[in-house]
Amino acid sequence: MSDRSQLKLSQLTAVISAAMGDVFAGLTFWVIADITDHKYYPEKGHHYFSLVEKDPSQNRIVAKIAGVAWQQGSGRISSFEKVTGQLFHNDINVLVNVSVDYHPVYGLKVTLLDIDTNFTIGLLEKQRLETIARLLDEFPEFIRRSGECFLTLNNQLEMKPVIQRIAVITSLNSAGFQDFQHTLANNTFHYHFKVDSYYAAVQGIENARDIRQRFQDVLESGVAYDAVVLIRGGGSQTDFLIFDTFTLGEIVARFPVPVITGIGHQKNETIVDLMAHTPLKTPTMAAEFIIAHNRRFEEALNNLQKTIIIESQQLFSSGSQQLSYLNNIIVNSTRDRISRQKENLARLNQGIISRPREILMQLSAQLMMTSGQLISRPGVVLANRMKDLRVEIASLAGYTRKYLVNTSSYLEHFRSLIRLMSPESIMKKGFSIVYHKGKIITDPGKIGVGDDITVVFPTTELVTNVKEKKKRNGREFNL
């Protein structure tokens, strides 16, 4: 027992400390780990926690080491929380820069020097995308993607023209809620609102179910709210992750009353914002939106009123114009028509008066002409006949004269012929007439010898007796 060397604990810890110092002094490590056993002492600004590594398949802890963040590390944590919106607390997966320290009393610890924001942002973004994908996948009936946007049952709801009954889901005594109330109450247009508050803790992922329950309460209240306003006003700029949860994304997306958000974030929209009807940055902006929305309605009303006044006046004046236009047409057309008819009548009348006269005159002219023809025609005929007669008479006279001349010349001829042939002239030529028994004899055959014949001379007659008869060939008389 005596040869066994005995050390005081402090001696041992000193040895450990020396050995640790030899290996880890001045070294830092970037380590991926989950946070657990987290405690924060705001007055000192110190974080105490443990880093653990879990076996992803069995959720069994495979490594664990205590950690602390002093002033420097706490400062890095604060800015980490601001940038990521992620509170530094249990069950978050982080990439931290640590030194390994050994203390004789407090033992082995890692000291957090820095925390990687990008790592966590990437992680959160990955989670966010997974949550969105899950929402799209599980509730295609009321969440659809449309390009960069999402069409949800809620954001496809038609906002009522006027928002007056409002359910506000907010944390008790939230500065944001006060801003909201104040902005609504002091609106310049003196609009009145009925605001019911539904209180819930709106920070910390674990409160998502609580908020979801408030939405249910709004529905079950039976009040016909015009809109639900989700406010997370004031306080730290951290921990928006509750608004990226599946459970809140779903309830907002399917909520039957338009949801207006005023979550008070400065960065990317949360999933709740994406699903909500009207996502706004702050509670004040939510209130202003509601006032502006109502104002738009009032202005539309005012415009309608003006339009009605103007349009009705125009309607009246155009109605009057139309009436007087038609009146003019009727009056003028009728007057025209009547005066034209009058003219037509007058013209016809005149025609009726003058036309018969013309006809009579024409007829009498025709008659005169005809009678003139009738009168002159016989005279002409007679004259023609007279002329013919005269011609005939003239030719008759000529012919008669010629005939007389001819006839008298014939007569002359016959006279001289008769003179030549007269017995006297014949006797003068030596011829005498022989009679026998009182008849002139031209055929001596009938006279025989012994017959008495009388030979006649103009102044003397010889009675004789034929003594002889002899034939002779007397050709001296044949001329």
């Binding site: 009705s312 009727i330 057309s333 009728t334 028509r337």
Partner: protein, 69 residues
């Protein structure tokens, strides 16, 4: 004027008569009758228009008075 005669009906009839008179498709026999009917219709329309205008102006005044309150 007949009851239940709307402005539109009266106006339509008036327009038709005016057209007929203008296009001289109305027989002179009924011209006077048509003109008389037209004048009645015009009177009726004017009366309706005037009454409506008065009433509308009253309502508008109320509307403006109401919104100023």
């Amino acid at each position: 004027m007949e009851e239940n005669l709307t402005y539109e009906d009266a106006f339509a009839e008036l327009k038709q008569i005016a057209g007929e008179i203008e296009n001289e498709t109305v027989s002179v026999d009924v011209l006077a009758e048509k003109v008389k009917r037209a004048s009645q219709l015009i009177g009726y329309c004017q009366l309706k228009l005037r009454n409506t205008e008065v009433e509308v102006n009253k309502i508008i005044k109320q509307m403006e008075g109401g919104s100023k309150k």
